[in-house]
């Protein structure tokens, strides 16, 4: 991330096919996300949105059968999940899970424990966590709690944004970030993401079922995913259109 501002990061997905549960769900998708851009992938239930998100991060049980995913030219599909994260991809989960007894700070310290990165150092990390918590309205007391334990759905999503802010990767994939989130929390998350696109040139790929994310989050590009294919790509107006016509027009294919 020491590159000059002029050279934006690039996440490039080419001919990606992915299977889950022994069945191909994603039938070859192509798109590119540049640093600083916000892309939203919209699609009905069962269209493969979550499979797409997890194929990018390499979740066990999701198998990529063909294609390529590169981040600034580095092939991510050859890397383990943790290496993809270190290469610059962050996945905000639909349901961030509880990890009893494991503190947020310990996880961030491990995640940042890499040669040449001094962000993991004790006091600095504590300060960063507090600053990120303030930026997203995450109660500072929760920073000392075990990861997501006894947190509401909204607090968990805010927690994901705290981690995003501490790690500052070039790209963030959000899997249904809007599910189970009230309007206030959704607004806070959307504002933080937009801020991040300017702050460190974050590229965002948000998959969602709902139009309401686009009310809060200003998208540069909207992709429509139906039955494992990207059937349309356009500007925010595409989401407006979908809001009125629904996915029906695409489902026939």
């Amino acid at each position: 991330m020491n590159e000059p501002e002029s050279r934006r990061h690039l996440l490039k997905v080419t001919g990606l096919r992915a299977a889950a549960g022994g069945k191909e769900i994603i039938h070859g998708v192509d798109f590119e996300v540049h640093g600083g851009e916000v892309h939203v992938v919209m699609g009905p239930n069962g269209s493969g949105k979550s499979t797409l998100a997890h194929a990018l991060m390499g979740r066990p049980g999701t198998t990529v059968t063909a294609g390529s995913v590169t981040l600034d030219g580095v092939e991510l599909l050859e890397l383990a999940s943790w290496q993809r994260a270190r290469a610059g991809l962050f996945l905000a989960l639909q349901q961030p899970i509880e990890v009893p007894g494991v503190g947020l700070e310990a996880v961030m310290a491990e995640a940042l424990d890499r040669p040449g990165d001094d962000r993991a150092r004790g006091d600095d990390l504590g300060d960063r966590l507090r600053a990120e918590a303030a930026a997203i309205g995450f109660d500072e007391r929760f920073l000392h709690r075990a990861l997501n334990v006894d947190l509401s759905g909204g607090e968990r999503k805010r927690n994901e944004m705290v981690q995003l802010g501490v790690l500052r990767p070039p790209f963030c994939v959000l899997d249904e970030i809007d599910s189970g989130l009230d309007v206030d929390a959704l607004g806070a998350v959307a504002r933080r993401l937009e801020q991040a696109t300017r702050q460190w040139g974050l590229g965002v790929l948000a998959v969602t079922h709902f139009h309401r994310l686009l009310v809060e989050l200003r998208a540069d590009v909207v992709h429509v995913l139906v039955a494992g294919h990207i059937v349309a790509t356009g500007g925010p107006e595409l989401a407006e259109e979908l809001e009125h016509t629904g996915y029906g027009a695409y489902a026939a294919s």
């Binding site: 943790w82 994260a85 962050f90 009893p100 007894g101 494991v102 996880v107 995640a111 075990a146 790690l167």
Partner: protein, 474 residues
């Protein structure tokens, strides 16, 4: 919600006693016969002490002579290696005057421990079951602390555990002395009373390995409060030792007792502990047992709630490494209305170790509006390791709320993926999750000041089990 009505066995001290044949032909009887070669009436009689204690030992020994040894055929000893217990290979340990090398090791252990346990109101050092020193450091004057010679010793010894099984009788017959803590009504003891048991291991060339019989009795009077920490330690390494502790905890009406025990014996020791507690009206008993050492580590904890509004919180943690066996048995016994008990037992097995958790919630007739909860989580860290979890309910009332839950399995795949998706390498992610699994229960220790030591003991063993650097910080 009403708990399911289910027929389940009671928890007697011994069931299906083996039929005594005239010739002693079965293996159990042979083992018993050999035990009587090394554990003798004369040996018990040598231990001295007040007259009543000597008579008590003699009665206990007479019982031991006729009671069968525990057997794997009994439900209470199922999944255990108890049939391998060869008592004839042990002899009563030599009390405070044991092996001088062991004494040096005990001193070193104690120094290390003292620094870490922080503030305390008293420190008791016990060697092979015999108290060596009682040092009061701020213990309120009305609190009695001493051996069985103190006034209440005779009345409260054995008052909770009763006669028990053959192993309790063996403890009764060979206990050199006990540690007695008697907190009078209304007295508050702020800092914990720390009791450290050092149990010698086998010495090369000596005949038989030492058997120790630690005994602790704590009584917290009406409206009184106290906390007690017991540490059971011994020679490190694989030397043989047998340790049979019996602990009795009495909490009278509206009293509060917090109790933690930590077992860190060497890898050659057999540790078969029996803890019996009782709580009166509105009394609160909080117990946390941690078993880390030993070849075979058994911890049986029975808590009976005798008075309305009484409550117990039982916590237990264990970590199996190498070929250890951890065996946890609990009884939440509700004998009065509106009593509450909660049990959380968490353990991990690595290497070729195995564990069994077997717990019973018993709600006796009349114990209406009882609430009881029992949870057991097991992490299996190696495919060669094994954990059994056997929850039981025995409910004789309708108006009760009882629940139990148990899990056995490897580190959760979703948790691993979650941490990996942040950039944490898999082996570090597993380590964090397993440490967190234990931190989760250690953080709920009824005595906060011991948490640091508990955490360190767990980390050292986990580092070994998972093949990682012993980074005991953080």
């Amino acid at each position: 919600m009403t708990g399911p009505r289910r027929q389940a066995r009671a928890l007697p001290d011994s069931e299906e006693p083996e039929v005594a044949g005239p010739t002693g032909s079965n293996p159990a009887q042979k083992r018993k016969g050999r035990a009587l070669d090394t554990f003798t009436a004369a040996g018990a009689a040598q231990l001295g002490g007040p007259e009543w204690l000597q008579q008590r030992r003699a009665r206990a020994f007479a019982d031991f002579e006729v009671l069968p040894l525990p057997s794997e055929k009994e439900e209470l000893w199922r999944y255990t290696p108890i049939d391998e217990l060869e008592l004839g290979g042990y002899r009563p340990a030599a009390g405070p005057a044991g092996d001088p090398i062991a004494e040096l090791m005990a001193d070193a252990f104690l120094n290390d421990l003292s620094e870490e346990l922080g503030e305390r109101s008293a420190l008791v050092v016990v060697r092979n079951g015999a108290p060596v020193s009682f040092v009061r450091t701020g213990l309120p004057e009305p609190v009695s602390l001493g051996g069985l010679a103190i006034a209440s010793g005779e009345t409260i010894l054995g008052s909770v555990v009763g006669d028990g099984d053959s192993l309790v009788r063996l403890n009764d017959a060979f206990v050199p002395d006990a540690v007695v803590v008697d907190v009078p009504p209304g007295v508050l003891v702020e800092e914990p009373i720390v009791i450290v048991h050092w149990c010698d291991g086998e010495v090369a060339g000596a005949e038989g390995a030492p058997a120790s019989f630690p005994r602790t009795v704590v009584r917290v009077g009406r409206d009184a409060q106290a906390s007690v920490v017991e540490v059971v330690a011994g020679a490190p390494g694989s030397v043989r030792a047998l340790v049979l502790p019996v602990t009795e905890l009495i909490v009278e009406d509206a009293g509060v007792l917090s109790y933690v025990s930590l077992q860190v014996l060497g890898t050659g020791a057999w540790h078969l502990a029996r803890l019996s507690g009782q709580a009166g009206r509105d009394a609160r008993l909080r117990v946390f047992t941690v078993g880390l050492g030993g070849a075979y580590d058994r911890s049986r904890t029975d808590c009976v709630l005798l008075g309305q509004g009484g409550s117990s919180e039982l916590r237990s943690a264990y970590l199996g490494t190498r070929d250890q066996i951890h065996d946890i048995r609990t009884l939440q016994d509700h004998a009065a209305p509106q009593t509450t008990s909660s049990l959380l037992c968490k353990g991990a097995v690595a290497g070729t170790s195995r564990s069994v958790y077997s717990g019973l919630i018993r709600v006796r007739n009349g114990a209406v509006r009882t609430e009881a909860m029992q949870t057991n989580h097991n992490l299996v860290l190696d495919e060669r390791a094994h954990a059994d979890s056997v929850p039981n309910l025995e409910i004789e009332e309708n108006d009760v709320r009882c629940s139990h839950a148990s899990t056995v399995g490897p580190v959760d795949e979703d948790q691993l993926y979650y941490l990996e998706s942040r950039g944490v390498p898999p082996e570090r992610a597993e380590e964090l999750i397993v440490l967190g699994f234990f931190d989760d229960i250690i953080d709920r220790s009824p005595i906060g000041s011991v948490a640091g030591r508990l955490r360190r003991e767990v980390r050292i063993r986990l580092a070994e089990a998972l093949g990682i650097g012993a980074d005991a910080n953080g």
